[in-house]
């Protein structure tokens, strides 16, 4: 189930294994048969660590979703709540426990597993309700960094950006640092740390402090990572706002990928059985897992969408040819060989069918007029055209009441590409938005201003053109089919964050000191001493491994760009990516919006 985790340069199976071990240990503490009551939000991330079979091996017989009321009847010795430390969940648990039939025999034992950590406040809350004493085991399961793929880790902490940049709550950073300590315990001390941004600085400080305070953490593992690069999301506010144009990026933009799963409209996946001329269309969304375990997906996901079609048709030809082979298989040996390949071919066939359908769905959208208009405006902004006046398209979209998030993405993009909007322009947009979508959105606009996404131009100087030119963020001659630069992921725009990583590897940040100073937050370098025996002697031609940690979220297009750099022949560096949350412009802006009460009707 986890082969894809070991496919990369760093074998992340070890991290998953560590997570599984911890889980097993906890389950075995509660001897006897068990039922797990799940905080629904945890099932996704947990699914990446363990499947039901593991739980079953440890006598988990039933599983329920956490909700108020009486717990379902289940003849088990233990009831275990798997929950995040949130007070409203404590209320539900309290309700469950209080309604438990005291007369039943044998009595069921209660336990709580807090994910990712125990909370003093939640326990206090339970005590207030008079149920704390009912729990025999109260433990924590530190699910800090969850392995998503062979080169990808995420904390899946959705509100991380908001907390770090709006509320100055550094708890997520604390967990990030702890996650990095766990990584170092498994993969060795990372000798070099680079960073850019306030949060990056904090995390580096915490790591150094934790190392000092727990001298036991000094380990004797040969370091797998050469470098850690910590990047604040607010160093590059631009990239997530633009529409991602890689295959995976577009799937996420349009359908939303959650914990590597995507739900798709079922129509295009209707089984075409003989004799059933297409009646009974499925109504449930088609759910697919997307990761590098699927060979075809691993090949196409990071391509620009315009390059996906040709790969799919080439694959179709190869597979048809492979199936044809069976007519030529005459001897038992040949048949055997064909048969042995069949499961693989069968999987390849269904994989191809799925991705052809997904590509069709996406194409319907990318060929629409509105998608084109929207993209045109984005690209104008990013290449520095007309960023200083009210944009007609945005105005039209407001007039037609397009989704507010779309408007906010565009306005913020314009603001970022102009180092803030002229006061007159900003006021105009604000007014239009408030009049059309409701005055209460003034709170959201305020949040966006605080996060630096939407702001008035303070000085008359617009730094963006300098940054764009120095870092070569806009490339006119982009090659989508056979890319030679990371700018292919946005068909012209090279993600700033990834450019920083690229320049750090070669020729080093010293070459861009001036631009670094224009971007927010300090940039720094730290070294962690290694015992002499562990110092790496690099083989000639061996690539360095850099862990890039995006504090505040990363997009699939940025991941694609880093993978592109990993694969460059003379690149010299391979990247592993970690983040607080996988985001896209929509989920990101949404996390910054003020939660408004539902309308009263």
């Amino acid at each position: 189930m986890a082969a894809h985790l070991s496919s990369g340069r760093v074998n992340l199976t070890a991290l998953r294994e560590a997570g599984r071990r911890e889980l097993r240990e906890f389950l075995d503490k509660c001897a006897g048969s068990k039922a797990i009551v799940w905080d629904e939000y945890l099932t996704g991330p947990f699914g990446l660590i363990a499947q039901y079979s593991l739980l079953k091996e440890h006598e988990v017989e039933k599983m329920f979703t956490l909700k108020p009321g009486r717990l379902p009847q289940a003849d088990v010795k233990n009831i275990i709540f798997f929950v995040r430390p949130r007070l409203e969940l404590m209320d539900i648990i309290t309700d469950n426990v209080l309604r438990e039939d005291r007369g039943r025999s044998p009595q069921r034992d209660f336990h709580i597993l807090f994910v990712p950590r125990r909370s003093l406040l939640c326990e206090q809350w339970l005590k207030e309700q008079g149920v704390l004493g009912s729990f025999i085991h109260r433990e924590q399961y530190s699910l800090d960094l969850i392995p998503f793929d062979g080169d990808l880790l995420s904390m899946e902490s959705e509100s991380a950006f908001k907390e770090c940049y709006l509320e100055s709550d550094q708890t997520t950073l604390y967990h990030a640092a702890k996650g990095l300590m766990t990584l170092q315990a498994l993969y060795g001390t990372i000798p070099q740390i680079f960073g850019k941004g306030e949060c990056a600085r904090h995390v580096a400080n915490m790591m150094i402090r934790m190392k000092r305070e727990f001298p036991g953490s000094q380990n004797s593992i040969f370091p797998v990572f050469d470098t850690l690069l910590l990047l604040d999301r607010n160093v590059d506010l631009l990239t997530p706002l633009a529409t991602q144009l890689t295959y995976e990026g577009l799937i996420d933009e349009i359908y939303g990928i959650q914990n590597t799963y995507v739900k798709l409209p079922p129509e295009k996946f209707a089984p075409k059985k003989q004799g059933e001329g297409g009646k009974d269309l499925p109504t449930e969304p088609k759910k697919l897992q997307l990761n590098s375990a699927e060979e075809l997906y691993a090949e196409i996901r990071d391509k620009n969408f315009n390059a996906v079609g040709s790969v799919l048709s080439k694959k179709a030809k190869i597979i048809s040819a492979a199936f044809e082979e069976r007519h030529h298989a005459k001897t038992v040996g040949e048949i055997k060989q064909f048969v042995s390949q069949l499961p693989h071919m069968q999987a390849a066939r269904s994989s191809l069918a799925n991705h052809t359908s997904i590509a069709e769905l996406i194409k319907d959208i990318t060929t629409s007029e509105d998608f084109f208009d929207n993209l045109t405006v984005e690209q104008e902004f990013m290449s520095g055209i007309d960023t200083d006046k009210v944009n007609n398209y945005i105005e039209d979209c407001i007039a037609q009441k397009h989704p507010l998030i779309k408007i906010l993405r565009l306005v913020c993009l314009q603001s970022v590409c102009n180092s803030g909007l002229k006061q007159k322009v900003l006021d105009y947009y604000k007014r239009e938005i408030l009049q059309t979508y409701g005055y209460e959105h003034i709170l959201t606009l305020n949040n966006l201003e605080k996060a630096g996404l939407l702001k008035p131009q303070v000085s008359s100087r617009n730094n963006y053109p300098t940054i764009r030119k120095t870092l070569r963020l806009w490339m006119d001659d982009v090659n989508e089919q056979n890319p030679n630069d990371i700018s292919y992921v946005y068909s012209g725009y090279a993600p700033l964050s990834v450019r920083l990583a690229q320049l750090l590897a070669r020729p080093g940040w010293r070459s861009i000191e001036e631009v670094l100073k224009m971007l927010p937050g300090p940039h720094f370098e730290e070294r962690q001493q290694l015992p002499t025996g562990l110092q790496k002697k690099r083989q000639h031609g061996e690539n360095r491994v850099t862990l890039v940690f995006f504090l505040g979220g990363v997009t699939y297009a940025e991941i694609a760009a880093l993978r592109f750099l990993s694969q460059m022949e003379d690149g010299g560096t391979e990247y592993v990516i970690a983040t607080t949350k996988l985001i896209n412009g929509t989920t990101w802006i949404k996390s910054l919006m003020e939660k408004l009460e539902p309308a009263p009707f």
Binding site: Q51, Y52, R118, M206, T331, V332, R349, K590
Partner: protein
């Protein structure tokens, strides 16, 4: 794909396999067994139609699906949990971009989401002191030494470190202000919001408000955590006091304004908004807040009137087009649309007249025309549409003018199924020849197409267009006339 599959079936059932005549020199029997086994296991795959099953069912038929899927499975016997599962399946099933739900969040803010009760926090320290702990059920596996944790002689640093590891510590022994502040500074240095907040709650309970505020003012990180905590737990009064103390006027104003979202009753909400008007917002924001209040006030009046009209049944428009939702709390532009729909001809003096709204809220011309156009077009009131764009100059000549491009007018009319006669009148007004031709062709405004080709003297296109119009129709004749001239 099904065709391929059928072929396979045929192949595997065909005689070639059954004949067992192979020329291989190896042990045929064992090889055959192996190949048969392979074929059989293959059938599992080939017969399995839905690829999903591959993910879900292992060879032995055991479910090895994802956890969320398994919950559904194992909970099957219980109807109540089944319902819950059903509803969760519905979520995000729409084809529109499904936004990932909050998946998991670990930090401070997640601890307090939607929480309004505060009383329980007053005695937090109880939980942290040993008396509370003794009530716990016997914890079998806890080593004896851990009980020492509660013996209370930990330094501030150790206390924080223990709390970070989720252990229970008594804070009560930190009595002097000095001790408390050292404890707070240690907590802040640890960066763990859970611990910082626990200490803050202890300080909040044991320190005088002015002292707490004064000390927090020089401790920005702790201050942020307290503000965030107060916001999440809904301790509005203390929050406002704090912001006032800090002189953060704009933040104070917005925090107060945010409260209106929790007021369901519209009258009360209106009164509350009225109270917000004087708050120290930025100049720009303050005019928006004023507008918000005025709008809701308007909506309440309009709503009362219209409800009366509707129930009385006297007004034709309300009979013909019953209202689907209340106008209360709707955005300004929606309100304008509503008024253009139900109250278009009212004199400017009434609250519900569109002209009055336009004036009061300084709605730009463009916005006004777009909204009025959409509303009148929906009612198929083509005369009103006409009037919207007709201007008279001082000589009394009329002229058609639009603050939005006429192509937009055409789009909106078309969306409301305007007849060709109406549509072509506006297509004709589109200035750009190419756009005009495109629109006219798209919406089959033959006259406009023909006239345009005539004007630009494009015989070739005009001749070609003959195939698009009906044979023997007036349009065909028109084309012939032009071509023969």
């Amino acid at each position: 794909m099904s065709r391929v599959r059928a072929d396979e079936e045929e192949y595997w059932h065909s005689s070639k396999c059954r004949a067992f005549v192979f020329d291989d020199e190896e042990d045929e029997l064992s090889q055959l067994k192996e190949s048969k086994r392979a074929v059989n296991s293959l059938r599992d795959i080939v017969d399995d139609d839905d690829d999903d099953d591959l993910e879900r069912v292992s060879w032995s038929g055991e479910p090895v699906g994802t956890i969320s899927w398994s919950i559904k499975e194992t909970a099957f016997s219980s109807t109540s949990s089944l319902e819950g599962q059903d509803s969760s399946l519905q979520k995000g099933s729409s084809s529109y971009p499904a936004l990932p739900k909050q998946v998991s969040s670990y930090s401070l803010s997640s601890l307090f989401k939607g929480r309004n009760k505060l009383s329980s926090f007053q005695s937090l320290s109880d939980a942290l002191s040993d008396t509370g702990v003794k009530n716990y059920a016997p914890e079998l596996r806890r080593p004896k030494s851990e009980y020492k944790d509660y013996s209370s002689d930990w330094s501030p640093k150790d206390t924080v470190r223990r709390m970070q590891r989720g252990k229970v510590c008594s804070l009560e022994r930190f009595r002097s202000l000095q001790d408390k502040l050292v404890l707070l500074d240690e907590a802040v240095a640890g960066h763990d919001g859970n611990v910082i907040t626990a200490v803050l709650i202890f300080l909040k309970r044991t320190l005088r408000r002015e002292i707490l505020f004064r000390e927090l003012e020089v401790r920005q990180v702790a201050l942020c955590h307290l503000i965030h905590f107060l916001r999440e737990t809904g301790e509005q009064k203390l929050l406002l006091d704090l912001l006032r103390f800090l002189d953060r006027t704009e933040e104070l104003a917005l925090s107060q304004y945010r409260e209106h979202l929790n007021i369901q009753d519209v009258e009360k909400r209106k009164e509350f908004l009225k109270g917000c008007i004087g708050l120290p917002f930025s100049a720009e924001d303050s005019s928006h807040i004023q507008d918000h209040y005025t709008l809701l006030e308007r909506q309440i009046i309009i709503e009362a009137n219209d409800r009366h009209l509707e129930t009385a049944g006297q007004s034709e428009i309300f009979r013909k087009y019953p209202r689907k939702a209340l106008i209360l709390n709707k955005p300004l532009v929606t309100t304008l649309f509503y008024c253009c729909f139900y109250h278009y001809r009212e004199a400017e003096g009434t609250f519900s007249s569109p002209a009055n709204l336009k004036k009061t809220f300084k709605i730009p011309d463009k916005q006004y025309v777009l909204t009025a156009l959409a509303a009148r077009a929906k009612l198929r009131a083509w005369d009103d549409v006409d009037a919207l764009f007709t201007t008279k100059n001082w000589l009394g000549y009329t002229k058609k003018r639009a603050p939005i491009g006429f192509y937009r007018v055409v789009e909106i009319l078309q969306r409301n199924n305007a007849p060709v006669q109406v549509l072509q009148e506006y297509v004709r007004l589109v200035e750009d020849v190419e756009t005009r031709l495109n629109l006219a062709t798209k919406y089959k405004c033959h006259d406009v197409v023909i006239e345009t080709y005539r004007d630009i003297k494009d015989r070739v296109q005009l001749t070609a267009y003959k195939s698009k119009v009906e044979r023997g129709s007036a349009e065909e004749e028109k084309i012939n006339n032009i071509l023969s001239n």
